[in-house]
């Protein structure tokens, strides 16, 4: 037995030496990005997931991209409005994909129609049809277009050539052929995705290469690490160079630390609390609860004090956010006000169910709310569900499953779209908002803000919602982008994901 044991040990040592030497040979112009979720299928027309979002803009190109508040074309050369619901999209006439296939207007039609028929990108249902006018021009007919929808629809569907898509045996699940400067060269499910610069990006005019299409590094590895502690550890040992998925709880380990840089920017998502209107029909009770929850506590306990307190449902990164809200009071913790409101309403407390989708951060927030409200005789029973179950109950008719809901939401375009997520009663099967409110004033103010997002319209809705307190914002988390000094300056896309090709090294 000893012999076998020593043989095994010797083999193990030998193997590990080989592996080590192999690992150290691979240096140079490469970067390793840490992401938390596995995309599973890299194909172009899959549904959005936490893993997919991290690699999407490096893998694919879209008609347009978002840069600050503007939407510069990537594949699209020009956009012409024909009428309210009809737009002409003109493509550059020299686009080729990684296999050398030229990209034409019929490919755009093909991609949008395939995505529609697969049905994983529900937003696309507001496109009526796409008409090919010439080799490089196609006409989009929309069924309806709310403010900000146009560009988000042009940015919704990844574009590939029909020839390449049909040549792929598995709908590009592991080996997509795209127009991006990076081509997927290795995908080990659940572990890593390797992308290499093709060496010949179709857009030769430097001034037209958008942020999402930049290619400053030769090789990109996306390393999938689901455990948040381990993601932090990997950055500490410099196995990964950059990550936008580091939890707030750990980010202080990299702030002002030699060899690391931290960039912080508002997260896409805002956390808010929705009242079940059937349980809390009294406006004063809703307001009282809002006053009784200390957002500072939540910020401190769940985000280590690194988030911002919310001033509405949404944060200040949206172009239609009204800056004046920052200076207005917004349910800052006030125990006396809460008690006064409860007394006025004759509310004496009780036991209520707070539903949330289970993550470490949500658990901390919910536990804080529970502790805060206990002072007012309000007993909160925590009802955590996995995301599938949470969403099922969130959109279902009221079955008493939840009395309060901790939810989060964000949009790639406008603040009014964040509001629409939970408060547009026309979107729900039961014809009420997510909190089971049927308020004509709320609906008309929301529609006004969505059709024309002037500061007046936005403010009118915000003030009305704040007064009614059907739901209210708790905290606006801040994304933390941490990287080693290998990365000189880090760049992210509008969704807060690392754009390794655009970073400087």
């Amino acid at each position: 037995m000893k012999k076998i044991l020593s043989l095994v040990l010797a083999l193990a040592l030998l193997m590990s030496c080989l592996c080590l030497s192999a690992a150290s040979a691979e240096q140079g112009e490469s970067v390793v990005v840490g992401i938390a979720g596995d995309p599973g299928n890299i194909g172009p027309f899959q549904g959005m997931s936490a893993g997919r979002i991290g690699i999407l803009f490096t893998t694919y190109e879209f008609l347009v991209t978002k840069d600050g508040d503007s939407y510069p074309g990537v594949l699209m050369k020009e956009l012409t409005q024909v009428d309210d619901l009809t737009y002409d999209v003109e493509l550059y006439d020299y686009i080729v994909d990684q296999a050398g296939n030229p990209l034409t207007a019929s490919d755009i039609k093909f991609c949008y129609e395939t995505a529609q028929s697969i049905g994983n990108l529900p937003k696309l249902s507001s496109i009526e049809s796409i008409e090919v006018l010439s080799d490089y021009v196609c006409r989009f007919h929309f069924k309806e277009l709310a403010a900000g929808d146009l560009y988000s629809l042009l940015m919704e569907c990844p574009i590939v050539t029909q020839a390449a898509y049909e040549a792929s045996p598995d709908q590009m699940a592991v080996d997509p052929v795209t127009t991006s400067p990076y081509r997927v060269t290795g995908y080990q499910t659940g572990s890593k995705i390797v992308m290499e610069y093709t060496g010949a990006y179709w857009q030769t005019d430097e001034s037209l290469v958008r942020t999402t299409s930049k290619h400053n590094v030769n090789s990109i590895t996306f390393s999938i690490i689901p455990d948040s502690v381990q993601l932090t550890n990997a950055l500490k040992t410099k196995e990964i160079d950059i990550s936008a998925a580091i939890d707030a709880a750990y980010i202080k380990d990299f702030m002002d630390v030699e060899g690391y840089n931290v960039t912080r920017f508002p997260d896409n998502l805002t956390k808010y609390l929705i009242f079940n209107n059937n349980v809390f029909p009294d406006q004063r009770v809703r307001q009282g609860i809002a006053y009784g929850i200390d957002a500072d506590d939540i910020n401190l306990f769940a985000f280590d004090g690194l988030a911002m307190n919310a001033k509405t449902i949404g944060n200040s990164k949206y172009p239609d956010y009204v800056a004046a809200w920052n200076d207005e009071p917004y349910y800052e913790y006030d125990a006396d006000a809460a008690k006064a409101l409860f007394a006025e309403a004759g509310f004496t407390g009780g036991t209520y169910r707070l539903m949330y989708s289970v993550t470490d951060v949500n658990t901390s927030i919910a536990t804080t709310i529970q502790a805060d409200l206990m002072d007012f005789g309000i007993n909160i029973e925590l009802v955590p569900y996995d995301s599938a179950l949470f969403n099922t109950y969130k959109y279902a008719d009221d079955s008493g499953e939840w009395n309060l809901m901790l939810d989060e939401g964000g949009s790639s375009s406008l603040l009014s779209n964040v509001w629409k997520l939970t408060m547009d009663r026309n979107d729900q099967t039961h014809g009420k908002t997510i909190g089971y409110v049927s308020d004509d004033t709320l609906q008309s103010l929301l529609e006004a803000a969505m059709t024309e997002n002037t500061p007046e319209n936005m403010d009118a809705f915000h003030q009305y919602l704040k007064e009614q307190c059907y739901e209210y914002g708790l905290v606006a988390p801040v994304s933390n982008l941490a990287h080693t000094t290998v990365v000189k300056s880090a760049v992210t896309c509008f969704r807060g994901q690392v754009l390794p090709g655009a970073c400087e090294y």
């Binding site: 306990f301 206990m374 955590p384």
Partner: protein
Amino acid sequence: MVKASSRQANAGVRSRRQGQLGQVMHRLAKNKLAMLGLFVMLALIAVALLSPWITPYDYAATSKADRYALPSAQHWFGCDGMGRDIFSRILYGARASLWLGLMSTLVSTVIGVILGSLVGYFGGWVDNVVMRLLDILQAIPGMLLSIAISAALGSGIGNTILALSIGGIPMTVRLLRGSILTVRKQEYIEAAEKINCSRLRVITSHILPNSIAPVIVSVTMGIGNTILQAASLSYIGLGVQPPTPEWGAMLSEGKAMITKYPHLCIFPGLAIMVVVLALNMLGDGLRDAMDPKLKN
């Protein structure tokens, strides 16, 4: 052993059993490790029962000032990220953790013993059918089964108990069945059957007492194992819900700060270790005491 009248037969078995039990207890009492384990367990159960009155702080009370406080005279085990006293949470957490461990093991043992004695005693097609059903249950990996059941039923202590206990049933049945098969052929069982003892009676007063030993040992160790499984479940976000403290959940909450504030993880980890250790020492002792061959 085989006596003429049923009364005497019963009396004989009983006194033999009592004698056996007495011997086992006697041997167990001489085993210092096992006694230590028993004492620790009894002490922990007492703590769990008394916890609402003996915890120095409210287990759910948060405090901004005490966040991540290190162990001190005020807070023996320090405070967690929400400023809650870890010592109080561990004392109170003994309730949920022990309850989880004891109840899941109890549920799986009771079902397992009923099924096991039926199967072992009747054999034949009963045996075949039940054992195949258990094969089905056993072929699904326990952890995945628990996760699926938790997903189906939702979290919470009752559902967690159910999720953890189902996986333990096949083992108990197999164990008991194996041990009954050896007892089944003994003369005193035949004797009891010959004198028209009811089947229920044969099973409960003759077969079970003589074949339950391995089950008892596995129960003591199973409790600790269940507590560990519960800890693993809470690592992936299932299990007992806050603010009720549970050691496994405390451990997985604390993992976030394992580098900076190791006390968040060390104390609940130690608590789990102490229980599992105590139960294993007790279980080892029981096994040795019940198998005289092993003891000099």
